[in-house]
Symmetry: C2
Subunit: 216 residues, 2 copies
DNA sequence: CGAGCTATAATTAGACT
DNA sequence: CAGTCTAATTATAGCTC
């Protein structure tokens, strides 16, 4: 959008493409932030950089101010971590339960696929595409989450293990909350379980069939 | 960005905010598309509309052209569905295996949280925030995926069940591929498993502690 | 290659219908 | 409230360093 109007097509020149990418990604992120702030909505943008190892380029979360303040308060409290763990635990159980349900669902899919055939309606195809696309994004997210979890875990191990067994540090030795692994089932947000492929390997499917006009 | 420079702050006037939201969301999506096309990267934007029931406002996936064409080809093939199912099945197994690992990880977390305390480093706090934020997004995605799956399932059941057992339709009755639930482990993309809470309930944590300066 | 620097394209705030 | 219009603000393509 400047010196010259640019065609909406892939930029062949690599350096130009890279420059445009950087600039536009930056601009995009700014827009996301602005929208979030101006309208107080949760918003995020994700951009797969070509060569950067499968990275979540940007993500942001905007919470309403009061909620944000509450979050801040609990962010560095020990109890928050305990609470998180309790919930994780409960959700693990939920998840195991859902595994059974997923098996059932999978069975149904299977039966349907084998028992019937032909001319998958465009509608269905689109839906599949939708699913795979969403799944891709989820894959990115899940990986990021797991990396963050690992980081967090390391971050806690590192400063702790090397420390001598009993060092009396005067500051903040009070709030020794008991580790109540309670957490009501009602509070626990919907347990999530993901079992979808993020990328469909195209090579596996035989060639030469229809061409759906479902570009966008 | 017009008639008047607008402050980067929440817009109090509701109708104005709504209008801005609509305009800017539209613009944002356009930017996402453009970036994707110009630089051939996978990109997506997600915006939580205030009142629209927890909706993924926009998501998009851009694949490189050759990949896209392959995808098109297999989109409406029966074998694609079978393939998807095979992979799902394999990933289900992987997932069950990962459940064990998650239990281990959870145990470690627990031990750390109960055995040590105090002054959660800002770094750790930020990480936790990151995790929860990402988790929130994943939650949205997972819900969307599950809805899509349900839709897909219904979409296949509907036109199939009411149909009489054996109707001889002449077109495309050939490619009756056997349902080989094989799918090599190498091909299957990383199995995903998600077990994180998307929203931290702030009320659960007692009040009046530190205020982290970790806004953004 | 990255960091400025315009000139110009694109977005959009506010008014109007 | 949903569009349309237009001026003013932003984003950025192509350069230069």
């Amino acid at each position: 959008m400047a010196r010259k109007k640019v065609k909406l097509a892939w930029i062949a020149n690599e350096s130009a493409r890279k420059a445009t990418f950087k600039k536009r990604r930056k601009g995009l992120m700014k827009k996301v932030r602005e929208l979030s702030v101006l309208c107080d909505v949760k918003a995020c943008g994700v951009v797969y950089a070509p060569n950067e190892a499968q990275a979540v380029e940007v993500w942001q979360r905007f919470k309403s101010i009061p909620e944000m303040e509450k979050t801040k308060k609990m962010m560095n409290q020990e109890s928050f971590l305990r609470h998180l763990i309790a919930k994780l635990q409960e959700q693990l159980h939920k998840q195991e339960k859902e595994n059974r349900e997923m098996e059932t669902r999978l069975f149904m899919y299977r039966a349907l696929a084998s028992g019937e055939g032909r001319e998958a309606p465009l509608h269905a195809a689109m839906t599949i595409q939708d699913v795979t696309c969403l799944a891709w994004l989820v894959e990115v997210k899940v990986k990021a989450v797991q990396e963050r979890l690992d980081l967090l875990l390391k971050g806690r191990i590192m400063p702790i293990l090397p420390r001598p067994p009993k060092v009396e540090q005067d500051h903040v030795e009070k709030e020794k909350v008991a580790v109540t692994a309670s957490a009501s089932a009602a509070e626990a947000t919907a347990a999530m379980r993901l079992n979808i492929e993020g990328e469909i390997q195209a090579q596996d499917c035989q060639e030469g069939k229809v061409n759906l006009p479902c570009d966008r």
